[in-house]
């Protein structure tokens, strides 16, 4: 498993273990992401991908090991402190608030650092949201809710975005649109950790892929090696 040369990774996860109550879900996750990279976590259902994101954000029951963001240890910190370091989380279930309208949802996450996108820029990226800014957040279509969930973490100035299955349950044309948006965000300099089940989608946007199985990272495939590793990846993912 070779990791490309990196001066200092933006995020370095080492020996991360996590528990939900009594059940031991992560058994030692190791990976790292360089500044400006787009890295995916691939793996079957229940492999521990979502738990890895939740552990990085500090919203699991118990975790041990090391998660360093910009060299700073975050294991042992509360999630509101971790978020303030510059990490932003877009959960799998999207987490749109029904008692808030679209714009209130967009404005909810506080700005943690300078350099985030303005509301105008976000509306330019997601014109649908501008049209529906006074609608109740949960009245939007699935695709629009996903765009809202991504859009609202772009304002905060966070440099690392954790996106959990942004394409899940969406029509192909919307998946394509989300892909364009993710590429735009990467061009803008965001570092992105993407959890995906949809490998074909992941392959179009990512620099590197980590494969997660039974709560461990078992392999890493770089963009250049994807073609020759297809057989191996398909075996891992069971597709």
């Amino acid at each position: 498993m070779s990791v490309p040369d990196m001066v200092e990774p933006l995020l370095k996860v080492a020996g991360l273990q996590a528990w939900y109550g009594e059940s031991h879900v992560l058994h030692g996750i190791d990976f790292e992401i360089g500044r400006g990279e787009l890295v995916t976590l691939l793996g079957r259902n229940g492999a521990g991908k979502t738990t890895t994101l939740r552990s990085i954000m500090g919203i699991v029951g118990k975790r041990t090991g090391s998660v360093k963001f910009e060299g700073r240890e975050t294991v042992g910190q509360q999630s509101n402190i971790i978020a303030r370091l510059g990490l932003a989380y877009c959960p799998e279930e999207r987490g749109i608030f029904s008692s808030l309208n679209v714009e209130e949802n967009l404005m909810l996450p506080p700005v943690v650092k300078p350099g985030g996108m303005s509301l105008e820029e976000i509306y330019k990226l997601f014109p649908n949201l501008l049209e529906r800014r006074r609608s109740q957040g949960t009245k939007l279509s699935g695709g629009e809710q996903q765009m809202l969930a991504i859009g609202r973490i772009l304002r905060t100035g966070a440099s690392l975005l954790l996106l959990d299955e942004p394409t899940e349950g969406l029509a192909p044309v919307i998946v394509q649109r989300i892909g364009d948006i993710i590429r735009t965000l990467k061009e803008r300099g965001f570092t992105i950790l993407l959890v995906e089940q949809n490998f074909h989608f992941a392959a179009t946007v990512a620099d590197r892929h980590y494969v997660v199985e039974d709560g461990r990272v078992i392999d890493m495939v770089g963009k250049a090696d994807v073609q020759q590793s297809l057989g191996k990846l398909q075996a891992y993912l069971g597709v």
Binding site: S79, N80, A83, A88, F97, S99, L100, L108, V112
Partner: protein, 293 residues
């Protein structure tokens, strides 16, 4: 003057005013309960005791330090609100992960302890509090004591300001979002535990504010909140648990219904609110303004 179904206008409007005043207290108290329940998941049974503490704080401030009513209107809610903050930090925060029943039992027990202490110190017979604005107006069809008119208006203002703060401001958006999904709100960088403490303090402060407003109307006594809080719980259930506007509209509305019942069929006036509660629960279990999740 005309008579309406054999009721003289002064009696009718007099009861209407009384109903509105009671409704004003129902609204202010159920508002605080709704806000607290929404975010803390705790049915704050101490609310009646905290209302009583507000009245006592004003009475003691006047008796000991000669602090006038208008200053007490600000000071008493702050003092009682801070006591609320201490209760939240020391006790309530330990039980959020448990069933509603535990919060209910804890706050119920606390209200017994607090009311017992006040009764032990000051007895259960009430002490009078002088009206800060004596006098009144003869409106022709009835006599309106100025202070009572002021209470109705003040309660409306307090309710609308609270509604605005929750529904239209950024802090209110945090509160609404944290009510739905505290974990995610926290993962955005918002200090949810502190938000919870502040919310409880403000909710308790609202109860104390209602207590100060009640002091010149009622006797200041250790048990003044006990009966009231039962009715207020019925109001919250009728309005819909956690609904802000529901609490306000239902509070005033039920006060009026109760007042009118006193005019037309006095024996039912103590039970009418509970009858309404039973009917509403049969037809709309989530309450008039509640949302089924």
């Amino acid at each position: 003057m005309f008579d309406f179904l054999g009721i003289s206008p002064p009696a009718l409007f007099g009861q209407m005013l009384l109903g509105l005043i009671n409704g004003a207290f129902y609204a202010m108290l159920s508002l605080g309960l709704a806000v607290i329940f929404g975010l803390l998941n705790v049915i704050n049974f101490t609310h009646g005791a905290q209302y009583m503490m507000g009245a006592f704080a004003a009475w003691l401030l006047l008796g000991i330090f000669n602090v006038p009513f208008w200053a007490a209107l600000v000071l008493a809610p702050i003092i009682v609100g801070l006591i609320g903050v201490a209760i939240e930090r020391l006790m309530l925060k330990r039980i959020y992960h448990l069933d509603h029943l535990y919060g209910f039992l804890l706050t119920f027990g606390l209200s017994l302890v607090i009311e017992g202490m006040f009764r032990w110190q000051w007895g259960s017979s009430g002490a009078p509090y002088p009206s800060p604005i004596p006098g009144g107006y003869n409106l022709g069809f009835m006599f309106l004591p100025t202070y009572r008119g002021f209470v109705v208006v003040a309660a409306l203002v307090i309710c609308l300001v609270t509604w605005y703060a929750i529904e239209r401001t950024r802090l209110g958006a945090y509160l609404r979002a944290a009510t739905e999904n505290p974990t995610l709100v926290r993962a955005f960088g918002i200090n949810v535990p502190r938000l919870i403490t502040i919310t409880y303090g403000v909710g308790v402060g609202l109860a104390a504010l209602a207590g100060v407003l009640a002091a010149p109307i009622q006797q200041v006594s250790a048990l003044m909140g006990t009966n009231l809080v039962l009715v207020v719980f019925a109001v919250v259930v009728i309005g819909g648990m956690g609904s802000i506007m529901g609490s306000i509209v239902t509070g005033f509305g039920l006060g009026l219904i109760e007042g009118m019942t006193k005019v037309f069929y006095p024996p039912a006036s103590n039970t009418v609110i509970f009858v309404v509660m039973a009917l509403v629960l049969l037809v709309k279990p989530a309450g008039l303004f509640g949302q089924t999740k």
